[in-house]
Every structure is written in structure tokens, then in C-alpha cells.
Amino acid sequence: MDNILEIKNVTKEFPGVLALDNVSFNIKKGEVHVLIGENGAGKSTLMKILSGVYQANSGKVLLNGDEIDFSNPKEAQLAGISIIYQEFSLIPYLNAVENIFLGREYKKNGVLDKKRMKEEARDLLKVLDVEIDLKKSVNQLSVAEQQFIEIAKAVSINDNVLILDEPTATLTNQETKILFKLIRNLKEKGVTMIFISHHLEETFEIGDRLTCLRDGQWVGTEDISNLDEKKIIKMMVGRDIGDTFPERAESVKKDIMLEVKNLKRNENEDYINFKLKKGEILGVAGLVGSGRTEMARAIIGADKVLNKELFIKGEKIEINSPSDALDNGIGLIPENRKSQGLILGLSVKDNISINSLDKILKKGLFINKKEEKKRANDLVDDLNIKTPSLKQAVKNLSGGNQQKVVLAKWLGIESNVLIFDEPTRGIDVGAKLEIYKLMNELVEMGISIIMISSELPEVLAMSNRIMVMHNNKIKAVLENNDDVDQETIMYYATGGEEYDRAT
């Protein structure tokens, strides 16, 4: 096979950071090339150079043997390199056809030729073997469908090289399967794809070759058939990290920390009842849309509910807002750290201390800035948050470090219960392990954790008990012993009633 892209000695420097350091490798025509590396390894920077967002400081990139020098993404797209970001660039109130042809509409006698565009869009989606309701505006479609439209749009402009930046991060398992089918279809049609992912299983399922970056440097390019999970992780972190998960903490006490009674969000839903023990990690599994996040938000009072009774250590408490939850030592580390967890423009210190400022007042009025700095500094050290200084804006940190800042905020207060919603989504292996270890330390200190997660290995490795939800209902609460496996969880998560291993 020929090389469609040749990356030669590419170096990119930002003020104070060497983002890419003399990186060279090739992409073969028609392959699915997986690009992996921890957050901050330089994957995104490299992709942005390929797609014309950034320009390299030195080195060159050849596309079909010709040196490329794009000054913007549009030039790259016309030359044959398109990138699909995690955040889509579709216009929400337009339909699929209008989005696909945005900016290059067909016209007949000066007016839009809607018929022709619709026909072409339909043909295009048919070739890709994707079904989409063309009448609906895209905000009425699922995330996966929107992604397919993005891909269709990119392919319709030019189908040389397609870069997919963590395309599965927001998809359900079912949707991921459909996406992989689409990727295979595209591959058959000769499209070359660069696939960025944090999921190693996906790498094996979809990739042909793999390149790993670490700290801006090229580590290696290998055929995936020659690799296994351990080898890839070693490439990524540069050392054997041993196990992906720490040993499970056994710190569960008899006493009940939190009791949720008769929680009901609206008329159509069942009551939710459960108890959380002191020092326990309760894993909450379920498919996307099963009501896990909604339950968490209801507990901390972020959304209004029809009915709920909460007891902390046996005492009834009233929680009508997140601020009531804070007063009772209940915190949520939300699913989407950028939109719900962090104030991106503020500093590491300001983010960490936002909910503990009133505990460090001088004369009951003024922020004790010395104390604030000290506390933030201690937390940055304890959690091993990598930041040049406390004054750094959190938007400049990597995903894993951002997640640690969200966590630090809740460690700065005396908590009883912490609810982690997808705690390791989109963060790298090394940071994941650190967060797991931290969760274990927390339960050993007597804090109780509710861990909502879609990663079944994570749920199985970390939880003392596992609660499975389906359709806003608790389907099962399982002691996490050897009888419980991924299959058991999926059985309940898809709506099963009584699990019988024999059948």
C-alpha cells in the first residue's frame, strides 16, 4: 500500500510548551490508523496541523507526495483532509440536507435547487448505509445521527482522509456499533481514516495500525495485530503501570450514610429507594438515558422533583438546591466537567476554593487569601494536579488534570457523600488510575461514594455494590461478588427482571 500522508519531523511550539517534538510517521492509503496517547500527548495538535487549524514550526507533511501548507481548515478540506470534532459544527435548526450542503448549495436560476440537494443527500446516505429522517432538524436527531451527518458531509466534500476525534465518546454501545459499520463501509470505499480514541477495545475492533504519541514525541507505529492491551498501555505511559485498577477498598461500615426514600421526579416514574453505607462505593450502571444522571441531580437538588425524602446518618434533611446539598456535605462531580464542573476562564485556585470561601474568612467578611492559597496548594499537591501555577486558567490544563480540579473543590469541604458521574470519561489511563486510588482513599476516610459509570470494567472493579437502572427504575442492587459479571449487569440494564444464569 502507498502512503497517503507522510508526516516528517513535524515540530510545533506554543509559548512555554513543546507540543510536538520532531514527529514522523506515515499513514497508508485506505487504512484505519488509530492515534493514541495520554491527554496532552500532542494528538490534537497534530490533527490540527493536518487539518489546517495550526501551522507547524518546522517539518513537513506530504499528501499524496505533495507538501501541504494549509492556512485554514477549508483549504485542508478541499485538498482532501476533513476532521470530525467531538463538538459538532452542525447548525441545530437546519435539517440533514441543509447541513450537508451548507455553504455550497446548488442553485437553479438563482434560487436553491432543493430537489437536487435532497436527492444527492439521500444517495449519499444510502451509499454509507445510514438511515436518517431528512425532514427533522438535526437537534431533534440523536448524537449518533448528528455524527453520521457530519461524516456524510465531510465525505461528500472530499473522501481522501477523514480524521475522527474521539467519535465514540458520546455514543451508546449500540450507536458505536453502527458507527463502526459506517467506518467499515467507508474503508471499503477507499477512505483513509485517522481514529483518535481512549478506548483500547475499540482500537482492536476497528484499527489496522496504531501510532502512539507521548509528551509530544513519537513513541511507535505498529500493526495492531502485533499488539495487546498491556503493550499499548506501556507505549502510552512509558512504563508498566501494572493493573488498570487498584485493589478494591474494603472499608464499608455497617452504618447507613445516606438513605434516599420515595424519590420521584414526575408522575410517569416509579419511586426510587436505596441506602448507601458509610465508606461504601455504590456503582450505578445502566444505559445512557436510564435516569442515572437525573437521579444524581435530583439528590443534590439541582432539578425540581415531585417527591423525595433524604436521610443523612439517620437524620432527615431537606435539600432543595445544590447549596443545601453542600451544607449537608453532599457533592456532585458532574458528567461534563467543562460545561458543569469548571469555570474555565478562572484560575486553578479560584476553581478549587469556590465552594469553601466562606469557611476561610478573616473577621467574618474578607477572604483569607493566604489561607486560600495554602489550601489550594495542598490540594494540588495531594491530587498531583499538573499545573505550572495556581494562577493558571483551568482551560489550559489537560482533561485528567481538569477532572482533578473539580474533585479538589469537593475535597476542600468536609463531605459525607460524593456522587461521581462518569468520573473517568475522556481522561487517560494514568490519570484514571490516580482517580480510582483517590476514591479508595476517600472511602477509607469514611466518605461514601455513588459512582455512576458506563464503563462496566470500572463498575465491576471499584464498586462494593452495584445498582443497575433501566428506564428511571432501579432494576437490581447486586453485591459485587464473583457471581456478578458484565453480562449480569447488561441483562438488568436492558430491562431484564430476574436474572437466571442457567438460561
Binding site: S321, S323, G341, G345, L346, I354, N355, F366, I367
Partner: protein, 323 residues
Amino acid sequence: MTGQLSNKIKDTNLKDLLKKPEVLTFAGLILLSLFMSIFTDTFLTGRNLVNVARQISINGIIAVGMTFVILTAGIDLSVGSVMAFSGTMLAAGMADWGLHPILAILFALFVGALFGLINGTLISYANMPPIIVTLAMMEVPRGLALLYTGGYPLSGLPSSFSVLGRGYVFGFLPVPVLIMAIVYLVAYILLTQLPIGRYIYAIGGNEEAVRLSGIKVKKYKIFAYVISGMTAATSGIVITSRLMSGQPMAGTGFELDAIAAVVLGGTDIAGGRGSIIGTIIGAFTLGVLTNGLNLLGVSPYVQRVFKGLIILVAIYFSSKKKK
């Protein structure tokens, strides 16, 4: 003490300093002042500079509340009308109801705070967009002021009351400038030393994240509008004293001058970033521009064109920085 100080110096190197938008505006202000000093004989005289300070005090005070509101990613278009209504209520208090001036002043501040409370409550609890709520609230207090006065200035105030608008302390410092300085000092302390200031910045940065962190976001947003209502009322008090009458049509269009001072001072119109020191620099820049162009004999009509252009240039630079 010395240790702290040297730390501070180490922390703020020149590059960081130049990144601050208010520094850019400050440089602009200096240049503008230099220009005016060279091309007019009168600009750089003590009397004129004191004059400029007094002229900007009305807008400068309103701009303080506007800074709080814009930092939370809001806007307050009602300040000009609230100022007029507070001013007429102040005059009515003294002239019609025979209140002691101090009581009347407190009443005027209360009126301003009340309108801020209404604005803030509608925005926080009814989830209405700030621009619409305060647009509507441009009409209500203005209408009430006109209704009460029948559209005529309300005079007959006790002569001692004129000290707030016309008086001097230490023989040279106009009282309005002193009031402005006090308002800025209080605002500076609120924004930089108290938790509430941090919350105001944070809310403008990401309201949902702040709410989920357990901060009472609604309360602090309302607080910002109450501050804005109160600074508008403070300006209403100064102008009523200066004119020795309650003017129902006072402050027309003042909301735009206040917004201009805030954004000229480098505060992000989208919220979350900015400073109160920037606002005073912004207010002075507008004041020096008006004063200088007056001294140069430029017609008021042309001045408006200049003012608009200066604002565009300033915003151009701060938007470019953001990118």
C-alpha cells in the same frame, strides 16, 4: 511584610501586565491626555482636571453597578431611568413631604435598590433575559417620575442640600468626586476581597458550574442588580443636588455611557472577566475625550461620532486579544 511585597513583584512581570486590557486603555488615556495637553492651553490646568473629574462622576458612579452586572454576564438598561426616579423621589421627599435630607437620601437609595431587586428577581427566578427585563424597566421608573412631577422639574429643596453636588472638601475636591471615590473603594473591596466578588466573576464564567458547586447563584445575581440600582440612585442624588431640583428626564441615554465606560475598561461584555479599576479608567477616558474635544472647539455632533469610533477601536483590540 517585605517578603509579601517582593513576592508580589515577582508574580506580576511586565508581560502579564500588558495582557490586562485595562492597561491598554490606561495607555490610551495617557496618550489622549498628552495630545490634549499639547494642543490646548487649558487642558492641563488644575481647574480643568478637577472639572473633568466632576463631570465624569455621575457616569462613573453608574458604571460601578454596571460593572457588577456585566461581570455576571448580564446588562442593566434601566439605570438612567432609575436614576431619574430616585432623584425625583429624593426631591419629593424633601420638598413635598418635608423629610429630613438624610432620610430622603436613604429613601432614594431604597428606591434604587428596590428596582434592582425587581430586575434581579425577574432575571434570576423567572429566567427572563436581562436585556428585555431592564429594557422594560427603562420605561416603568421613567413613567413614574413623569407621572409624579407632571413632567416638570421639582424644586424647592433646602439650600444646605446643595453641598452634595456643588460643594468642595479641602477647598479643591468636589464632593461628587469624593462620593465617586468612596463608591469605587467599596466596589473594589467587594469585588477583590469578599467571597461575593469571586462569585460574581464565577457566575459570569459558568453559572451552571457555580450553581452545582453549591453557591446560591440567584442570590448573588440579584445582588449585582441591587448594587446597580443603588449606584444609579447615588448618581440621582448627586445630580439632584447639583441641579437643586428633581428632574424627571434626567439620565436619558446614561445607560449607554455607563456600558461604554465598562467595556472601554476591558470588562468582557460576555461576563466573567474585567475589573473595577478598568471601569474608572474607561470613565475617565470618555470624560477626557469629551472635555478635550470641547476645548478644541469640536462640535458636539462630531464628538458623538468620535466617541462611537473610540469605543469600536477599544472593543476591536480586546476582542482580538481574546482570540
